[in-house]
């Protein structure tokens, strides 16, 4: 039987990364084909190529054995590819029918007037064909998130797709809504639609999948019938590396005193009963998939998130964290994951950015000691060997590595007790990355406690004295540096209680 889609030797590179390297596999009609892999494995890039949003560097696609050129999203749709994104793309201000028929509204002559009756009738037909009990005239905000997602799917089925790509469609759904979605997905499959389903959740993968493909670091690792795989094997395929590279030499086993103690931290959105301790001079890694709640936790600890319950103690003193300044005054510093959006004021110069978190230390009654600030800035620029022409240079045009050093220096000026790092080497080139790593170790040796979030497992394993793993808002496990392996971290990150 000719496969529905044949993906042949697809490669795609971006500056600094080979996102996909010679990936080939087939997807059959009437099957649910799950695509799995860690963060950065290349899943999203591949989906975007199938949906015509990216063009591959090399390789080709075939549909029903015919070469298919997905030159644009519109062309991909014409060829029968439908895409459901992780985030809802339905419009709040339109009703269900208008959302479904958006851009395909039926018109009547003369003058191309909208044919409202026909519009709602067609939308209703589509909803009925999917066994959905949704009124096409209902305003969108009156629907639950799950129902809105159904509307999204109905909109895609309007084009009668032969291939439906779904990118983590359950990430915002409750348990019951998930069931409804799974039913719908199975119905589409039984109609002969080929479904490519991206997921991070083991349970649903084994519930739904007919076939599973694993990607890792842009490579195709395996495509196998789901029945031939078990969870342990799947984790092994996703991680794959059997070497623990660059393991930190002198792992500290004798921990210092407890500096930060977090107890039963919960919020109404995601986090549940997070408890852990951070010791003096320790580098505590925080692993987990994107969306597992790591950044949320970091923001709570820095006083910049929503309200939360539970206690945070620093040196045995309870902290009240309602604004970043509360955290800063207590000795907590935070390097956010989005350097340009959250870490820097791009149009300001290096000097002003570097001193922005320590204005209070350089001011008497609100009046700044500019000369003192300047010498402080210059000494930090020198200490971190930040490569700039002048401290009056705007940070906007610095390299990623130098920008990140400016952000780090901004916090080091405060001599923090606790340094929270969120993806400290994202978008930083290899050389600067090593410098940042060395700097983090040096800081920790001086007694600063470091909480480091990173999606790069090798980095996390190499740097951390201990690793906490998060899964869906909870801490799913803790690993010492001696026992931590990529397999164990990934298993915990995917919610597998039993480390393999």
């Amino acid at each position: 039987m000719t496969p529905l889609i044949r993906i042949r030797n697809i490669s795609k590179g971006f500056p600094g990364v080979q996102a996909l390297d010679d990936v080939s596999f087939d997807v059959k009609a009437g099957k649910i084909h799950v695509l799995m892999g860690e963060n950065g494995a290349g899943k999203s890039t591949l989906m975007k190529i199938l949906a015509g949003a990216y063009q591959p560097d090399t390789g080709s696609l075939e549909i029903d054995g015919q070469p298919a050129q997905m030159s644009s999203p519109i062309r991909a749709r014409e060829l029968g590819v439908g895409m459901i994104y992780q985030e809802l793309t339905v419009l709040d201000n339109l009703d269900v029918g208008r959302n479904i028929m958006l851009g395909q509204e039926p018109v009547q002559e003369p003058f191309g007037r909208m044919d409202w009756n026909k519009l709602y009738q067609q939308a209703g037909d589509i909803l009925t064909s999917l066994d959905l009990q949704i009124d096409p005239r209902a305003p969108l905000p009156s629907l639950s998130i799950g129902e809105q997602q159904m509307v999204e799917i109905a909109r895609v089925t309007l084009h009668d797709p032969r291939i439906m790509i779904m990118d983590e469609p359950t990430s915002s759904l409750g348990k019951h809504e998930e069931e409804v979605l799974f039913d719908l997905v199975r119905r589409l499959r039984d109609r002969g639609v080929g479904i490519i389903y991206i997921s991070h959740r083991m349970e649903e993968v084994f519930m739904l999948a007919d076939t599973i493909t694993v990607l890792r670091d842009g490579h195709h690792i395996a495509t196998q019938p789901a029945a031939d795989l078990d969870r342990a094997e799947l984790v092994r395929l996703m991680v794959g590396r059997d070497v623990d590279e660059a393991r930190q030499q002198d792992t500290k086993t004798d921990r210092g005193d407890v500096v930060l103690a977090v107890e039963n931290l919960s919020d109404e959105v995601q986090l549940q009963n997070i408890s852990f301790m951070l010791h003096r001079g320790e580098i505590l890694g925080l692993a987990g998939l994107v969306g597992s709640g790591r950044t949320r936790l970091a923001r709570h600890l820095f006083g910049s998130g929503e309200p939360f319950t539970g206690s945070v103690q620093l040196d045995g003193r309870s902290l009240k964290l309602t604004h970043p300044n509360d955290a800063i005054q207590s000795g907590i510093a935070y390097v956010p994951e989005d350097r340009k959006g959250l870490g820097l004021v791009l149009m300001m110069d290096v000097g002003n950015n570097l001193s922005l978190a320590s204005l209070d230390k350089n001011a008497v009654a609100g009046v700044l000691n500019r000369a003192g600030m300047m010498s402080m800035v210059k000494s930090w620029v020198k200490r971190l060997s930040i490569r700039i022409a002048s401290v009056k240079q705007t940070v906007e045009k610095l390299s990623g590595g130098n920008q990140q050093k400016v952000v780090l220096a901004k916090w080091l000026t405060r001599e923090p007790r606790v340094l929270i790092l969120n993806e400290p080497t994202r978008g930083v080139d290899v050389g600067a990355k090593a410098e940042v790593h060395a700097l983090i170790r040096e800081i920790a040796e001086q007694g600063v406690s470091v909480l480091m979030i990173s999606s790069e497992l090798p980095e996390l394993l190499a740097m951390s004295d201990r690793i906490l793993v998060m899964h869906e808002g909870k801490i799913s496990g803790e690993l010492s540096s001696t026992e931590a392996t990529e397999e164990k971290v990934v298993a915990l990150a995917f919610g597998e209680g039993e480390p393999v």
Partner: protein, 326 residues
């Protein structure tokens, strides 16, 4: 890249050309060109007395534009300055009419300005409403309040000391309002460059999230900026009532638009975070010279408005074009 842009880039390599192409010098060149043009066209223009006259006329706009510079730097806007200025003028005039001492009148003027600014800032920040809308509302409220309180009658002042201190005195032969203007400029320059508040204004306007994550209370900074704007409007209202001898219900025409134009002409980014007070000075001078010269040439006021609007838009287009590379 077009040939023109390429040329503009090459030109920026040359120091003299780079200075000329700098938006700040662009306004300066505009001012010089206007001075030359008006001097050739009118025998009354190039004259010390006329220049002092220009200075006296622009005091109000200058002080309001200083406040507007802070507001725009912080990423906000204030459309209410014209009617608020008229309302504060009425407060000040009424206070003096009751034979209360001058310091009380000053406290009323500056205090009411600060309070109105606080209200605008508080609603903007805590209510999460765009300042464009909030101050548009305040604009209307202040106008209505002024008419209601006065029945549209002007309130004349009979306090010669007041006129002397705020309008007529000429220390060293220079109109006293000019001294106030310079003093305020120096104070504000100090605030902007040498205080935490000043640096915070730039940071909040440049990237509010990054500023907040650096421990800056961005809400307070924004409210502070509106309070400062209100104080400036209060000061301008005091000088204006002294100059006119009366509290008028009618707001100075287009004050808010001229102030915004002056700030932006000076090169301050409309989106916040970049700009300076000295640039605003040039923007105000350009508008003041234009107003004065066109009046001396007996240009009809509707032509004046058209010419002024055209020049402002042209200047901004030029600025946009020169800065596209950034």
């Amino acid at each position: 890249m077009t040939t023109l842009q390429k040329r503009a880039e090459q030109a920026q390599q040359h120091p003299v050309l780079r200075w000329l192409l700098n938006p700040e010098s662009g306004v300066l060149i505009g001012i010089v060109a206007l001075v030359v043009f008006f001097s050739l066209q009118s025998e009354f223009f190039f004259d010390v007395d006329n220049f002092l006259n220009i200075a006296r006329q622009m005091t109000m706009l200058m002080i309001v534009s200083f406040g507007m510079t802070f507001v725009i730097l912080s990423g906000e806007i204030d459309l209410s300055v014209g009617t608020v200025l008229a309302l504060i003028g009425i407060f000040v005039a009424s206070t003096l009419r009751r034979d209360l001492p001058i310091p009380v009148a000053l406290a009323v003027g500056i205090g009411s300005g600060a309070l109105i600014g606080f209200i605008s800032g508080f609603i903007t920040v805590k209510g999460n409403v765009p300042s464009f809308i909030v101050t548009l509302g305040i604009f209307s409220v202040a106008r209505g309040a002024a008419i209601w309180l006065t029945n549209s009658r002007a309130i004349a002042i009979f306090n010669d000391n007041y006129f002397a201190i705020f309008a007529d005195a000429e220390p060293l032969g220079i109109p006293v309002s000019l001294w106030y203007m310079v003093a305020i400029y120096l104070i504000l320059i100090f605030i902007l460059r040498y205080t935490r508040f000043g640096t915070s204004v730039y940071a909040v306007g440049g990237n509010r999230n990054a500023a907040e994550l650096s421990g800056i209370y961005t809400d307070r900074v924004k409210i502070g900026v509106f309070v400062l704007m209100g104080v400036m409007v209060g000061v301008a209202a005091i000088l204006q009532t002294a100059r006119l001898g009366t509290g008028f219900v009618e707001p100075p025409r287009n004050l808010e638009l001229d102030a915004i134009a002056a700030v932006v002409l000076g090169g301050t980014a409309f989106t916040g975070g970049r700009g300076s007070l000295s640039k605003t000075v040039l923007g105000v001078v350009l508008i003041a010279v234009l107003n004065n010269g066109l009046t001396l040439l007996n240009v009809q006021s509707y032509y004046q408005l058209i010419i002024k609007g055209g020049i402002i838009v042209l200047a901004l287009l030029l600025d946009q074009w020169l800065n596209r590379g950034d």
